[in-house]
Symmetry: C2
Subunit: 427 residues, 2 copies
């Protein structure tokens, strides 16, 4: 039976989950996969972590050199997080001809090109299923399940923290600050929540998934990004009364015009499959020219779900193509002359405060009409705590992002309306 | 660039879709997959089909020998359907060392062991993603996406025809015969619909998926199978008023006690993700010990979705492991002493006709209690068109299939109630 030596860098949540799966399932993998996965070493300086997992002292490596010089190590699993040390260690491993499996979305998103080059040069494998959407095999699906398709769209809920916060706001009527505090208390959000709530995490993942789906490097810096920090309870309630649920949505599209990538809050209809994706769960739609819509759904984070993705990559690397299979292919390189679109089309939700007097609505619609924006649905109600004012909540037909930006500036400038919120609506 | 020669046996719906994808995307595959997929021949005697697709005359093979003796053919795609000729041709191809890609669930389910042996003996690949759930990469996911998990359950809506019929009955209030006629008229059901409506098609697929998920051959003959031909509009309406939707469900479970596999109509709660799987769409839940629940959703049939799965298999075979990768592994062989359970646990929906008089309900519950069956929900109403009779619709707590069978026999025998319907409820 083939023996494969594994070293794990970092025994935090994901590294610890990986350690547990490998130790508890070793016999299962020998029986079902005909491969003997052996943990040769771990690199973790925090003795409490190695002790909690029961790592034998002789398996704790002192430094990265010890790991990459060990001829018994075939696969190096990177679960360090961050980019500086992780990048250095991963390059060390690849340069030593070790196959690398990583869960590090920021590292992979920012340095895939460099890592891919090192992997090719040294005939090493490079795997990153765990970098996106936890245990859901979305990368395997893009690479080996729907690769027969020209993919035109990828769309999903791919950040668990913001999904938890928005679910709390929706179901319990919490405001943003309270929902965030609750997420932090439960360990779903970091003390500094910016990476999640400002949409960076989702943008890194979207960059990786779009690069694979569209066969061209999509830098995360090209992702239009808007977080959830300004979302008010009022928006969620008004959306609800119109039949919508708010999600942090990641959308990538490719057409003959170019590539469009964006992460922002968006209303989805309550009967849309993404509407029922709650809490820690994630879901991704992929639209291909032959297969049509395919959706994958599952836990987007956590020790064991993410560990599941890492171990699946280790097994794949161990049982196919003698580990020389590097998964990123063309997506690592930018297509020359690829156009990234800054304008895009969407329907919009607007909440405005206006004077509560006759004729306002007529003036408002006529300004919107000048920007080619037409209204599908509208609710008018008394503004909360502002005498003589009314609140208008409206949903538009599909139009251009830039048209909405310009129309909003115009409305604010003329004093006809104070635009309180602008949110996109996914149709 | 690697050149891979393909021959397609049968140009019906799926074979035709495969032909179109390969011809229309040849340049796309060269660019994105670095493989040159060339159709070397087709085996199809119906000239109208070859003509409709514009197959050049010199590419139409006269017989299977011509295909398997052609050194330029690396991959043989079997889209003939049926088992006799298909089995013979697939064995011919494997024995000639050709990699085989098939969409034939009945063939694969019944003869996987034999085909697998031939593939191993001749170093040929054997791929069958297209045999289950159309374009949804459920087999790739089981083999290479969640193979790090011990799978305890697989559950899904995996037959489009019955799903269409049940959706028609639910949404339009049609009875079974009318909904079937409509499905036949639209081409979703065959003239002889037995394979679909009696649950054979779903049982074949469940046999394949369970064999992969549980790493032991699960013969389709072990699948408990009940079709939808006795479903009445009344059941669907009563279920609706209790908050349920009826689906033809396929369920496979593995525990220390053994393997349980069944295909039958079942009510699912309206807020369950499977409830919203409508028409031609299919969905499969997989539950693993690390990853938890993962769901895949997409079109379960059709020329292009199924063609997508076939072409993905061809590309996988062409770009990994030099085509010597045979996917079925341990699932082709039965585990010795594997126990297949004939009894299973479920909640139940019962519809009964009883005399409309005091004390009946008390007697009924006391009989059910003797079989350890307790009632969760109950509706009583006047029986339609039967004076002096009442209809009782009830949902039980989880109990044993055998207990329900025995209790129903007892109720009918005592004359206390006429049991009109017994359906399972998936919790």
């Amino acid at each position: 039976m083939k023996k494969v030596g594994v070293s794990i860098l970092g025994l935090g949540t994901v590294g610890g989950g990986t350690y547990r799966i490998l130790t508890e399932h070793a016999e299962f993998f020998r029986r079902t996969q005909e491969v003997d996965l052996v943990i040769e070493s771990v690199l973790e300086q925090d003795g409490r972590k190695t002790e909690a997992l029961g790592v034998p002292a002789e398996k704790v490596a002192q430094n990265i050199a010890e790991v990459v010089l060990d001829p018994d190590v075939n696969v190096v699993v990177e679960c360090l997080g961050g980019v500086n040390e992780a990048r250095e260690y991963v390059l060390d491993a690849l340069n030593a001809g070790k196959t690398v499996v990583t869960s590090n979305k920021e590292l992979f998103c920012k340095f895939s090109h460099e890592l891919e080059r090192a992997a090719k040069r040294h005939n090493a494998g490079l795997f990153f299923e765990a970098s996106c959407v936890g245990g859901v095999p979305i990368i395997r699906t893009l690479l080996d399940g729907v690769q027969s398709n020209e993919i035109s769209r990828i769309m999903g809920v791919i950040n668990g923290t913001t999904n938890f916060i928005l679910s709390e706001m929706t179901e319990k009527g919490s405001n943003y600050a309270d929902a965030l505090a609750r997420a932090q208390q439960l360990g779903y959000a970091e003390a500094d929540p910016a990476a999640d709530v400002e949409g960076f995490d989702a943008a890194y993942k979207l960059s990786i998934l779009s690069s694979l789906a569209f066969h061209t490097k999509v830098p995360y810096t090209k992702v239009f990004r808007e977080g959830i920090t300004n979302i008010s309870r009022e928006d969620i309630e008004d959306g609800d009364s119109l039949g919508y649920v708010l999600k942090l949505l990641a959308v990538g599209k490719r057409s003959s015009a170019g590539v469009e990538v964006r992460v922002h809050p968006a209303f989805v209809r309550k009967d849309h499959p993404l509407a029922s994706v709650g809490g820690n769960y994630n879901a991704v739609f992929v639209t291909g020219d032959s297969v049509g819509d395919v959706m994958l759904y599952g836990q987007g984070a956590g020790a064991l779900p993410t560990g599941s993705a890492i171990v699946s990559d280790i097994i794949f690397a161990s049982t196919h193509g003698e580990m020389r299979y590097s998964t990123f292919k063309n997506g690592a390189a930018p297509e020359k002359d690829m156009k990234f679109l800054s304008d895009f089309r969407s329907a919009y939700y607007l909440r405005l405060t206006v004077d509560d007097e006759p004729g306002v609505l007529a003036k408002l619609s006529s300004i919107l009409a000048k920007y080619n924006i037409s209204i599908v649905e509208l609710i008018q109600r008394t503004a909360k705590g502002e005498a003589g004012k009314a609140t208008l909540v409206l949903v538009t037909h599909e139009t251009h992002e830039l048209a909405v930006k310009n129309a909003v500036a115009k409305l604010n400038a003329t004093g006809l309306a104070r635009v309180e919120s602008v949110l996109r609506v996914a149709l």
